[in-house]
Symmetry: C2
Subunit: 188 residues, 2 copies
Amino acid sequence: MFASPDILVLFAHLAIHRSKINRAMIDAISGLERVVFHDLLETYPDFYIDIEREQALLRRAAFIVFQHPIYWYGAPAIFKHWQDVVLTRGFAYGEGGTALQGKQFALAVSTGGLPDTYRADGIHRYPLEVFLRPFEQMAHFCGMRYLPPLVLQGGHDLPEAVIAAHARRFRQWLEDYRPGKATGAHKE
Amino acid sequence: MFASPDILVLFAHLAIHRSKINRAMIDAISGLERVVFHDLLETYPDFYIDIEREQALLRRAAFIVFQHPIYWYGAPAIFKHWQDVVLTRGFAYGEGGTALQGKQFALAVSTGGLPDTYRADGIHRYPLEVFLRPFEQMAHFCGMRYLPPLVLQGGHDLPEAVIAAHARRFRQWLEDYRPGKATGAHKE
C-alpha cells in the first residue's frame, strides 16, 4: 500500500534495558514496513552525529516522531544535539530551508509521574504540554504540522496490561497516519 | 569578603569563537574570586561527564548559573545531559536528595531573535520564559530558588556598546549576589 517507508521514528533512552514501556513500544512497531526506526544513542553514543545521513532520512519521511522518555522536562540530550546540528539554516529554516515544510511531527513520550503531578498543585507544577513547547515550536518553525503527542504517564508503576495496550496504541497511531492528514490520535 | 567561591557558572556554546556576546561576558567575569567558571563542552567534548566532580562543584556553590545561547528554544545539549546524569535521585531530589536545597539558580542566556519575535504574533510565538519553564521547574524540583534570567536578545546584530554593557551587567549581577537574597536583577 505504501511504496516506501514514510514514517521516521527517532528514539533515545539512557537505559533501554530498564524501560518496559519503550521496549514494548519498539517491539510493537517492529516489522512495520512504513516505519524507519532509528536509535540515536545507539548510532551516535559519542554524540558525533552524521548530519547528511540525518538530513537524508528526514527528506524521505512524511511523518517524523520523537520517541523517548521525559527526563527533566525534556528529551534525552542527544535529541537536542540532533536538533542543533541537523536542523540547520538553509535546510530546516531560513532562505532555501524548506526540507521539512508540510511534514508532520509528533512526540511519543512517557513520564514517570502520573498526570495529576503535572498541574499547578502537583509536584511538576505545569501541564506536560507546557514543557513540550520547545518541540511544538521547533516543528512550527520548520513548517511542520505539530500533532498532539502520544503520552503514557506514571511509568514507574504501570501494570503490564496498560503498557501492552499503550504499545498497541502506538502501533495503531503510526499505521493510521496518512500523509497530509492527522492521525487517529489527533483531536482538533 | 567571601572566603571561598560561592558562584558556579556552567557554560556551553557550540561555536564560542563566533560568539561576541558570550566571549564578552566571560571576559567580564574572569578574575572574580567568587566565581567558578566551568565550560562543560570544553571539559566534556564527548559528553562523558564526571558526575562526582560535578556534584562536588554544586555542593560548594550557593548560586548556580547556566550561561549559554538559546538554540532551538533551549540550552546546548550538554546541559541536558548534565541534568540527566548529575541531578540524580538521592542527590538533587527524592529521599536524601537535598544537596541543592536553598541554593539559588538563574539562567544567563542570549537569543538571536529580538524580543518582539518572542510573542504570539512573532516568529517564535511564545514569550521566552515559556521556553524556559523546564529550567525553572528543574530548579524548583531541586529545592532551589529560580531567579529571573539575565537575557540579551537580538544577538545577530547588536552594536559593540550594547554587548559591552551587557557584559558589565553580567559581572555586576554576579557581584551583587548575596546568599539567600535575590540579586539586583531580581524583581519580585
